[in-house]
Amino acid sequence: MNTIIIDGLAFALPLFIIAIGGIFSERSGITNLALEGFLGFGAFFGAVMVMAFTGGSVSGVEVPMFFTALIFAVIGGALFAMLHALLCIPFKANQVISGVVINILSAALTAFFTSQINTLLVGKPTNKFVLSVCQKFTVPGISKIPVLGAFFTDIYYYEPIIIVVALVAAYVLYKSRFGMRLRACGDNPHAVDAAGIDVAKTRFIAVMISGGLSGLGGMCFAYSISASFSPSIYAGYGFLAIAALIFGNWKIGPTLGACLIFGFARAAGYQLAQTLGLPSTFSDVIMILPYVLTLLLLMFFSQNNRAPRALGEIYDKGKR
């Protein structure tokens, strides 16, 4: 039971921060299918910086390198997101195409550069940067409480970081001036324009934020699931995050719920397979649990599902 909570949180939180990134972009009116590409590129960028600073071997400096990686992952994600923003905003591209293209590009570019850099650093063109696993900590005292305590046990360092970032993001989106204008852009950009606000700039920043947050999430995945950066980072978590935010009706609170469901169901699946002593092949069947659960829940909760009104529409000042 505890393992479910621990592992579930460890997966749900990075997913959550990526989904929040998606919410920022989509609430401003820009369809964002590129979360997958952003998380990958952010993780790549963070990993590259770690390699650059440590010359290829991480041992001995895991913790400070970890935080360095996180910071650069955010930067890398935000920079790469500028591409999507450029395509969608001034270049008025079809936002769906742009998202898909960004994903393809991200996979291609990161694979290419990883093998090039590895050739330089270690002489072999491998497609992997080996990192370490993020360290965990346990809150003394509270962790002894049954059930509740599990939320405070074996927490990856990144989990509280994500929670703090998420709170800041929620504040920005719902309480700040910028957030208010951003959300208006996704409903009626003409109204925002008439109020004298620069719609293009607001959306651009929103997309960059989505890149930064996705990069953060991607880096956390790299440090927990695979302890490395490699092409396997593109496991579809970006699409899962999109499903989560659609399920959450483009609101941060319900999206957290969706991510927790995914995380706990996934962890529960693994646990179930283990306790039942099932052969490893069975773990595949268990893995479908979160997705089936989501579909069932959606059957009940999709009646009022409504996307931001101006989502995906290219904003044209001239149109009346």
Partner: protein, 394 residues
């Protein structure tokens, strides 16, 4: 007062070539492709290699141009056939995306539908002892029906519960990936290849290693269907009542109701047809291009096909060409990297750049229309100036 600078000849040229609204559907994607080829050439130059050699080797690798030497029993024809083999599933997948898109639905679950179709056809016909004449049609039929069933399910969930089809598709992609992986690993695994047992040769849609005129060639039978199916989809959309209804639903739901169209039925039909096409893609991929299924992997064809569909402007004929282009690049990449010495990932970058530039199609159209307006304005001003002069003289 606005500045009265005249439109420079460079811009005029662009407007002339790209300005005709009727031909824009073709001229602008072509222009985008040319732009991206230039961009790729620059990158290749930066890597210290010759772009011309690179592009040539790309075409050679996919059998469009002849290579200098060939391995035994191989020729340009075999390379070309090999490329066509890869082209076939991509085309069907892109058509699947296009059909759904015309109804306003985004079928991001093509990969999952392909997997289901490929798997079911594999375990029913692929492992049977049926002779080719019976097996192949059966494979196609089962593939189409399986894909259609999944598509219909997605459409029904949308109609009945208003569940966003993007979410359903993503969920089903995962569910199928894991379920089928379980079944393969438990019952159909080949311990050596780590994939499902290979299907019998008589069930494969691609005739492998056929001895033909001194060569060993793969003949993708599925290809025979590609062009007819593309034209069929075109015919469906433009000339049939069903196509008319699907388009109205995609363009204006409320008007569709007003026109008396059963919207729910149209959504389900559209997704079912899209799924059927995805099913064709699935069987031509898993029982043609490949002869087994790798567990825990969802083919990227289903996602790349979205870009291919949009590159082809969602038009079946355009998709024929865009699928061809992307496949040529993908197939030739291996050869190009071995000949020229650029890393293989370059092909993905070229593809990515092409899609990038084509994504800017709307932007190019916009800039062209602005230039056209400037040209018209200039003409008007010239006219009124001439009239004023004429008036004064008189």
């Amino acid at each position: 007062m606005k500045k009265t600078s005249s439109v420079n000849p460079f811009k005029r040229g662009f407007a002339a070539v790209l300005g005709n609204e009727k031909s824009q559907g073709i001229t602008i994607p072509v222009f985008a492709i040319l732009l991206s080829l230039v961009a790729c050439a620059i990158i290749i130059l930066a890597l210290g290699k010759n772009p011309l050699t690179a592009f040539t080797s790309l075409l050679q690798g996919s059998g469009v141009l002849p290579k200098v030497t060939y391995a035994a029993k191989k020729s340009m024809f075999t390379d070309f056939m090999s490329m066509i083999n890869e082209f076939t599933p991509m085309l069907f997948a892109a058509l699947a995306v296009a059909l759904a898109l015309k109804t306003g639905l985004f079928n991001i679950g093509v990969s999952g539908q392909m997997l289901v179709a490929g798997f079911i056809a594999t375990i029913t016909v692929g492992y049977s002892k049926l002779p080719m004449a019976a097996a192949l049609p059966l494979v196609l039929i089962i593939g189409i029906i399986s894909g259609a069933a999944v598509g219909a399910l997605i459409g029904w969930l949308k109609h009945r519960f208003n569940i966003n089809e993007v979410v359903t598709s993503i969920m089903l992609n995962y569910i199928f990936e894991y379920l089928i992986s379980y079944f393969i690993n438990s019952y159909y695994i080949n311990a050596i290849s780590r994939q499902s047992q290979a299907i019998s040769a008589s069930a494969s849609l691609t005739l492998a290693n056929v001895a033909l005129g001194g060569l060993k060639v793969d003949i993708p039978l599925g290809f025979i269907l590609t062009i007819p199916v593309a034209f069929l989809v075109l015919f469906l959309l433009n000339r049939t009542r069903l196509g008319y209804e699907l388009k109205v639903v995609g363009l204006n739901r409320r008007a569709a109701k007003y026109a008396g169209i059963n919207v729910g039925r149209s959504l389900i039909t559209s997704m079912a047809l899209s799924g059927a096409l995805a099913g064709l893609a699935g069987v031509t991929l898993y029982m043609g291009y490949y002869t087994s299924i790798q567990p825990r992997v969802l083919t990227s064809v289903g996602f790349d096909s979205i870009a291919v569909c949009l590159l082809g402007n969602m038009h079946p004929i355009g998709i024929l060409f865009s699928s061809l282009l992307i496949t040529v690049i993908s197939k030739g990449g291996n050869y190009m990297s071995s000949i020229v010495g650029v890393p293989e990932e370059i092909t993905e970058m070229i593809t990515g750049l092409i899609l990038l530039f084509s994504a800017c199609g709307a932007f190019i159209r916009y800039r062209v229309s602005i230039t056209k307006e400037e040209i018209t304005e200039e003409k008007l001003r010239a006219k009124s100036a001439a009239a004023a002069e004429g008036g004064e003289k008189a």
